[in-house]
């Protein structure tokens, strides 16, 4: 177990280092002078030279790389050109809405997908099953900006049940800020439930065909108990992976949803940073997202250990 953990953590470190390297060369690979690129066409040569010196671009590339990696490891992701603030600080200020949005929409997705998937599997081929599967397809294929706009148009503007867009300022109470997230969470949750639903249904169908389910039925257990105790626990193992991946996807920025609802989250930040050529912010976001992915991956693998005693590392 300890050996497995240390091996996994070493693997994680390697991935993070690879991402750091990519992030580092990303800026250098763009054609032209990075400093000029960052400042845009209107900058004077003097400004560019000053930025080059500030970013250390006049030093040898190996030294730059070493400094970049060293700083990143210490949590220093550089300075945002646009905000003129440390990147870490910029990212941190945008983390809350994104994290909350991801969490809420995951909860919505699970609440919709898991019970529906289980019931659809138990009633395979029924009208409910067919309706659930086709609705999931529909929800996944309709672009979320359209659903988002429709929800804003009707649920927010017409009926006024929810705030249409924005996010409470830093002075507002948490509850108020959460109020802004309800509608986007519902939209994002329903859209993302499609994948989890299909996985739950497929996994449950597999498990319900297993011999031990027949054994459980032969004991005279009630069907609900057979499905929920013997079925779901086994079916849950592959579902954990999908949930982990969905969550990682949500955290790394629900760009469109944040855009539509004008939420100052990571997704919005990254889009703006790209448009502003704020390379340090793009680099920083890339690194944070990579660390997050790797971490969630490890977490799901450890969850396997907890759920399934056969898994030994």
């Amino acid at each position: 177990m300890a050996r497995y953990l240390s091996r996994r953590i070493a693997g994680m470190a390697a991935v993070v280092l690879a991402v750091l390297t990519i992030a580092f060369f990303l800026v250098r690979l763009a054609p032209g002078d990075p400093a000029a690129l960052m400042l845009g066409p209107d900058a004077s040569p003097g400004e560019a030279a000053e930025l080059r010196a500030r970013l250390g671009l006049d030093r040898p590339i190996a030294a730059q790389y070493a400094a970049f990696v060293g700083n990143a490891l210490r949590g220093d992701l550089g300075q945002s050109i646009f905000f003129n603030q440390p990147v870490a600080q910029v990212l941190a200020s945008r983390a809350e809405p994104t994290a909350l949005l991801a969490l809420f929409s995951l909860v919505v997705a699970l609440l919709v997908a898991v019970p529906t998937g289980i019931y659809a599997a138990c009633r395979r081929g029924s009208w409910f099953d067919q309706a659930a599967v086709s609705t999931a397809m529909l929800a996944a294929s309709v672009p979320s900006f359209w659903t988002g706009l429709m929800a804003q148009r009707w649920l927010a503007t017409e009926y006024g049940w929810f705030p249409a867009s924005g996010y409470g300022g830093p002075d507002s109470v948490l509850l108020e800020r959460i109020g802004y997230l309800i509608l986007p969470s519902l939209i994002l949750g329903v859209v993302n439930s499609a994948l989890i639903l299909r996985f739950t249904r497929a996994s449950m169908l597999d498990v319900l065909g297993e011999d031990y389910i027949r054994t459980a039925r032969a004991k005279g257990m009630r069907e609900a108990r057979v499905v929920l105790r013997h079925g779901l626990r086994n079916a849950g193992i592959p579902i954990i992976t999908v949930i982990g991946l969905t969550f990682a996807l949500l955290v790394s920025g629900a760009v469109v949803t944040e855009r539509v609802f004008n939420i100052p989250g990571m997704g919005n930040l990254v889009v703006s940073a790209v448009l502003r050529r704020d390379y340090p912010v793009i680099q920083g976001a890339l690194i944070v997202v990579a660390v997050l992915y790797v971490g969630i991956n490890l977490l799901t693998d450890l969850l396997y250990l907890l759920v399934d005693k056969r898994v030994r590392y």
Binding site: D211, Y212, A216, G220, N234
Partner: protein
């Protein structure tokens, strides 16, 4: 109306599955009677409807099955009126299940939920039917674990299914079925997935439990040896119909229905009944062994073969220092239970796995010393037929391409000459030349195995390894495929290594028999000698464990205790000593070498002279 002494009466059962628009009849007309306290064997080949009939009794068929019966009466209590199973609601059936009728299934490896400790799974039936609290459940579960003779029952209560061997899991499943003391136990091929020595233990256990608990058993099986051993009455099923029911002795001595007669005739040998007596008679004391070798002119010589698989939790000693010769034109049977290393040995001989030590001399050439291109040429002369006729054929390829693949790989012939060759091969194995245009799924299991054989023959090999090649087939199909193998040997003068766990098949087919236990070769010699007068204690135990398809046969059984040790930690000295009734302190010192015993065999036992 009275049921007399019958616990179960079934008349004209029909089960149909609604598929698309067309219903498929799985059971067309099944009737049988089971007397209280007796065992009724329901015999038939795969697809005969015997499992479906039993699931209908349990109310466990899926929703799209329709069940009709003139009469389906179950009398759990001799004094109470019987229950009519046809008219029961699903909820009423659920209350009967596990409490009055219980079931044990074929696959012990997959019939337990991997995510719950075994004690919980056994206790669940008590929770459902008797609403016992945790403490009394635990007490009853422990009693059951002891009853089914699981060693160290108290510690096993919280064990996980994957920590137990197949035999132990089947004991757990029996405990699970019997924990509410049902009146009727339905056992659906309960020992088919187990090794023969473990099967003997489980059958023994079931007989004892039946006497102790006074239950009735409906025993579903395809194995006539098991029938002869377990049943009071036998009902024979074929294509969804029960064709006859009779008392067991009557059925074996005087089968009425032509199908039953055919089934009995397809047994590899009807003459093994006397085995157990002759086995215990001693061999005449041996004068110095004759000097000539057991095998002259070997085509294949296996010399000191070992294969150790490295693993995190201790190396697996799959094969250890095995040597024997395979004479040209002979069929050598390699028998052993699961984990004995027989499959690994077969693959190491073909160098499909790289042996850890030892060598194979094939027709005078040492295989390990050949360079890649000469080895490639050599591979043409050695082929393998696999066990699973379904999984070993690529479903996307046509039969023509499957059979011709070897020819293509070695660049033999043109497209049209290859097609001719495939046509000839298919006819040789009893298929039609036209079949080459079809895909594997269009064939039955027996036909698919014929395709596998045609593929192996395509390169005209001198040496063929058949790894459990008839194990997945029904008895009547099996005997046809065995005859095909004999035919091929005669016509092509091919040499065969036939790997099998089925001793009766090996006795029927093979000239020589090699017996493996825990990676070691323990006995090797002429088939008739090894089977009629086994020398090694393990061979004897193995042979007496095989159920004899003769209800009158005496059963001088040497039941082996427990499971075979793990090949990760084989015992010191003689590997068999931990389960050997003749073991002496000296046996712990070293693994005895194969030594000549009599004119036509070798055995690896230090105490042969004393015990044989």
């Amino acid at each position: 109306m009275t049921t007399g002494g019958n616990i179960l009466e079934l008349q004209n059962l029909r089960v149909r599955f609604q598929q698309r628009r067309q219903p498929v009849a799985a059971v067309r007309d099944a009737s049988f009677l089971l007397r209280r306290g007796q065992t009724l064997a329901l015999v038939g080949e795969s697809g005969s409807g015997k499992s479906v009939a039993s699931l209908a009794l349990m109310g466990l068929l899926p929703d799209h099955a329709s069940v009709e019966a003139r009469r389906m009466r179950f009398a759990p209590d001799a004094d109470a009126p019987p229950v009519d199973l046809t008219g029961q609601s699903p909820e009423a059936m659920r209350r009967l299940r596990g409490r009055h009728i219980a079931m044990v299934f074929q696959e012990p490896m997959s019939s337990l939920n991997p995510l719950f400790p075994i004690g919980d799974q056994i206790g669940e039936a008590l929770l459902v039917h008797e609403r016992l609290d945790a403490r009394s459940r635990r007490k009853r579960v422990l009693e059951m674990l002891e009853l089914v003779e699981i060693p160290g029952a108290a510690e096993r209560h919280d064990a996980w299914p994957h920590e137990l061997s197949g035999g132990m899991r089947q004991r757990v499943l029996i405990a699970l079925a019997l924990v509410c003391k049902p009146a009727l136990l339905i056992a659906d091929e309960p020992t088919t997935a187990l090794d023969v020595t473990i099967q003997a233990q489980i059958l023994d256990l079931m007989r004892r439990l039946q006497a102790e608990l006074g239950m009735s058993i409906l025993f579903i099986t395809h194995d006539l040896g098991v029938v002869a051993e377990m049943a009071d009455e036998v009902a024979v099923m074929r294509a969804g119909e029960v064709v006859e029911q009779a008392a067991v002795r009557e059925l074996f001595s005087d089968p009425r229905h032509p199908y039953t007669r055919g089934l009995l005739a397809s047994l590899p040998s009807g003459r093994r009944a006397a085995l157990s007596q002759t086995a215990s008679e001693s061999v005449e004391p041996e004068v110095p062994p004759p000097p000539e070798p057991l095998v002259s002119m070997p085509l294949v010589s296996i010399k000191g073969m070992s294969k150790i698989f490295p693993s995190n939790r201790g190396a697996v000693h799959a094969v250890q220092d095995v040597s024997f010769d395979i004479p040209k034109g002979a069929i050598v049977g390699l028998v052993g239970e699961s984990g004995s290393g027989k499959t690994t040995l077969g693959r190491a001989v073909l160098r499909l796995v790289e042996p850890t030590a030892g060598s194979v001399v094939f027709d005078g050439e040492i295989l390990g010393e050949l360079d890649a291109s000469r080895m490639r040429a050599m591979r043409r002369r050695m082929q393998i037929i696999f066990q699973d006729p379904v999984a070993s054929l690529n479903p996307r390829m046509r039969v023509r391409d499957i059979v011709a693949e070897g020819l293509l790989a070695h660049g033999i012939g043109t497209a049209s000459s290859r097609a001719e060759r495939v046509a000839a091969l298919l006819e040789e194995v009893g298929l039609k030349a036209d079949d080459m245009r079809r895909h594997p799924h269009e064939f039955s299991g027996g036909q698919r195995q014929r395709i596998g054989i045609a593929r192996a023959l395509a390169l005209d090999p001198d040496f063929i390894i058949a790894d459990e090649s008839v194990s997945a087939l029904d008895v009547s199909i099996r005997s046809q495929v065995l005859d095909l193998l004999l035919d091929i040997r005669r016509r092509r003068e091919a040499t065969l290594l036939f790997i099998s766990h089925d001793l009766s098949v090996v006795r029927y087919l093979c000239d020589l028999t090699a017996v493996m236990y825990l990676g070691r070769l323990v006995e090797f010699g002429a088939t008739e000698a090894v089977h009629s007068q086994p020398a090694h204690p393990y061979t004897r135990a193995l042979l007496t464990a095989v159920p004899v398809p003769d209800p009158g046969a005496a059963r001088g059984r040497e039941l082996l205790q427990g499971d075979a040790p793990s090949p990760q930690a084989p015992p010191s000295g003689c590997v068999f000593r931990t389960r050997c009734r003749h073991a002496a302190p000296a046996c712990a010192e070293a693994m005895p070498a194969l030594a000549r015993w009599g004119p036509d065999r070798e055995a690896a036992c230090a105490r042969l002279a004393e015990i044989a």
